[in-house]
């Protein structure tokens, strides 16, 4: 980014101030990281920040939004809709495009792939996805964790995360959401599904405790950097 952005970008989504973390600057196109959803987001926070640091070393600035209702966001989680998350990702892409004058490389992890088609195509250089999942799978896992936890108190109906029911405007559209459009697909070596590239590392999004894998963060940053360079030349 020729004009370095503040470390925290402020955006207005649905009338509220929301925040995105910004790391690095440089003349190359910036990367917008779209985090996984729910618990996986927390388990991958360290990984995403490590990827941002590595991208900065490669001369690429990056942004990581706190999706509405998560992280620093003041929006109550129980009120969040899928459209709020998609609006946040779209606004971040527009902000990076305006700040750098270059179209943005969007790199999503897991359920983040369900949000990465939200930006206006004029803001987007290309898309990169790590082990994308469908919305139905995300909901299924939330439900399983809820049932296995066997918590006391009145049973909550429908999808619940950390004791808070998902708003109908989140659970409903998420159930039928699938990653849309073309993207470079990256998976871990043990994952048998089709991929454009396989990296060595651990599925930190599954870890019972948040973990760190610096070698994987570096491999991810390098692959995003190469992909972004290819998109810029095409």
């Amino acid at each position: 980014m020729t004009t370095p952005l503040a470390e925290v970008a402020r955006l207005t989504i649905a009338g509220r101030e929301e925040y995105a973390r910004i790391v690095g600057s440089g003349d190359a196109a910036a990367v917008l990281l779209v985090p996984p959803l729910f618990g996986e987001m927390n388990r991958c926070r360290r990984l995403m920040v490590d990827v941002m640091t590595e991208l900065a070393t490669l001369g690429r600035g990056s942004a990581l939004p706190d999706l509405p209702g998560t992280g620093e966001s003041l929006m109550p989680f129980g009120a969040v809709t899928l459209d709020d998350w998609r609006a946040m990702v779209a606004a971040c892409a527009a902000l990076l495009h305006a700040a750098t004058g270059r179209t943005v490389m969007i790199a999503s992890l897991r359920g983040g792939a369900l949000l990465d088609d939200a930006p206006d195509p004029v803001d987007v250089a290309g898309r990169w996805r790590m082990t994308p999942v469908e919305g139905a799978t995300v909901l299924r896992e939330l439900g399983r964790a809820q049932r296995l936890a066997g918590t006391s108190g009145p049973p909550l109906s429908g999808a619940v995360f950390a004791g808070t029911p998902l708003a109908p405007g989140l659970a409903g559209p998420l159930g039928s959401a699938r990653p849309q459009g073309s993207a470079r697909i990256v998976r871990l070596g043990e994952d048998g599904k089709n991929a454009d590239e396989r990296l060595t590392g651990s599925p930190l999004w599954r870890r019972a405790e948040p973990g760190r894998d610096l070698a994987m963060a570096l491999a991810i940053a390098r692959d995003i950097d190469r992909t972004a360079a290819t998109c810029a030349n095409s």
Partner: protein
């Protein structure tokens, strides 16, 4: 042991490492009597959900919630037996 049965066992060991963060060298020492649920502090109910989902993903099977109980998760052997029954139909 058939090749498929061996793949299921290798997959289970690598999922235990990846999901619970248990070092591969320690998982390699697990035998059929090694206790799991209730004995591994890493294996709480959230971890069980993640473990089962990852196993489903890698082996292309579906585990119903009512099939999940303490007995099935009791030892490495009982979990392996359950998964083999599912995966090697």
């Amino acid at each position: 042991m058939s090749q498929d049965a061996e793949i299921v066992e290798t997959t289970l060991r690598s999922v235990l490492t990846d999901v619970l963060g248990i070092p591969p060298a320690r998982v390699a020492t697990f035998d059929s009597l090694t206790p799991l649920f209730g004995s591994l502090p890493e294996l709480d109910s959230m971890a069980v959900a993640g473990l089962l989902t990852e196993i489903e993903d890698r082996l292309g099977i579906v585990v119903e919630d009512d099939e999940v109980d303490g007995e099935m998760m009791e030892t490495f052997g009982s979990l392996l037996h359950f998964i083999r029954t599912k995966a090697l139909l």
